[in-house]
């Protein structure tokens, strides 16, 4: 199994980080939507936000790691059957997803730290508040957090649709590469 990427394959680190991020983003979105609708007497009223914030801040570190890994690894070249507009659109969506994920992390952090309180990460340590007391900080950050999350889910859906299209319609190796499967180019038949 490859650790690093090659010119044709993704390594195990890039693949793991990709699917970990996908899992965490979807999980946090569901958790976030669910926890903001809990009744006051729900046993999860206090624990759900604690887990959401702890996982969210840990996710920030994972995202940073992923970007660093991406910078110091070569990227497998585009598949030859991909059209120019496809690789351009994919590149745009990838870039946008990274930027928006970072915006979600920052805006979420700004909600909870709006009055100067830090955020506990799994009770292990506390991330201090750095930017506090902006006008309607918690409300504005909350608005951004919610709508950018909705945008990311939509883009991720588009991203997944693209992958499925390549897999089932074009029958190329786009999705197989990200699943770490051996390429089997079916184009020759």
């Amino acid at each position: 199994m490859l650790i690093r990427n090659t010119s044709t394959r993704y390594g195990v680190v890039a693949i793991s980080l990709h699917w970990l991020v996908a899992l965490v983003v979807i999980g946090l979105a569901i958790l976030g939507l669910w926890m903001t609708d809990l009744t006051y007497y729900s046993p999860y009223y206090r624990t759900a936000p604690f887990w959401h914030k702890s996982i969210g801040l840990t996710f920030a570190a994972v995202l940073a790691l992923r970007l660093i890994w991406r910078m110091f690894n070569r990227r497998p070249s585009h598949l030859p059957n991909h059209k120019r507009w496809e690789t351009r659109l994919a590149g745009l969506v990838h870039g946008l997803l990274y930027v928006l994920l970072a915006v979600i992390v920052v805006s979420g952090y700004l909600i909870s730290t709006a009055r100067g309180d830090g955020i506990s990460v799994f009770g292990w340590f506390e991330v201090p508040a750095l930017l506090t007391g902006l006008t309607s900080q918690a409300d504005r950050a909350g608005f951004v957090h919610y709508w950018v999350a909705i945008t990311v889910l939509s883009l991720a859906g588009l991203h997944a649709l693209g992958a499925l299209k390549h897999h089932f319609i074009d029958r190329d190796d786009t999705l197989r590469r990200m699943l770490g499967l051996r390429p089997h180019n079916t184009k020759e038949s």
């Binding site: 006051y40 007497y41 936000p49 909600i111 909870s112 709006a114 009055r115 900080q137 409300d139 909350g142």
Partner: protein
């Protein structure tokens, strides 16, 4: 003699301005000697205190004709402050005060009934979360007199209990927390 003359002059001035019996006071917002606080039970175990930071108002008060007194207060509901960022955000949302739809809460008195030398029942209309209900403030004149800077001040405190459901507040905080006590504690500067 000097005093009597001053009294006559002052009386004449007040008569001219048409407010002989009701001196107008503006709530001392600038010097921050005014508070609109609330307290609500947390689970039946403790009190949670909060306040509104931005509000404005006036009252009229005359010791000789207290029944003619009036109180008008306007509160910026977005300024709700319970010293906790996430809770305050929740209080501003449509689970509670719905401040984007109802940025102002108001109290306008309709009648003042003295119940003792310094105590009164102030009836009025309270508008909160877009809902107007009659309320009665149990009020007390805390003190009045000249201040050290050439002005004249009077201070009141009044409180009333509100049932959250009466003001269309959606969040259910449990059986011990159906009511909130609203406490107005204000000092006015005579104009």
């Amino acid at each position: 003699m000097k005093k009597a003359f001053a009294g006559i002059a002052l009386g004449g001035l007040l008569a001219l301005s048409g407010s002989l019996h009701a001196a107008e006071y503006v709530i001392d917002k600038e010097g921050q000697h005014a508070f609109i606080n609330f307290k609500i039970s947390h689970l039946g175990y403790s009190w949670l205190y909060g306040r509104f930071n931005d509000f404005d108002g006036t009252f009229t008060w005359d010791a000789d004709k207290p029944e003619d007194s009036q109180v008008n207060v306007t509160i910026d509901t977005a300024s709700v402050d319970s010293n906790h960022a996430e809770r305050d955000k929740h209080l501003r949302s449509d689970d509670f005060l719905n401040v984007s739809a109802h940025p102002e809460a108001t109290f306008k008195s309709t009648a003042v009934e003295m119940t003792g030398e310094n105590t009164a029942k102030i009836s009025g209309d309270l508008t909160l979360n877009g809902v107007t209900n009659p309320v009665v403030l149990d009020a007390r004149l805390l003190g009045q007199g000249e201040d050290p800077w050439g002005g004249y001040r009077a201070g009141f405190e009044g409180s009333t209990k509100l049932t959250l459901k009466d003001y269309d507040i959606q969040m259910d905080l449990g059986p011990a927390s159906q009511e909130v006590e609203l406490i107005l504690s204000v000092e006015g500067i005579r104009q």
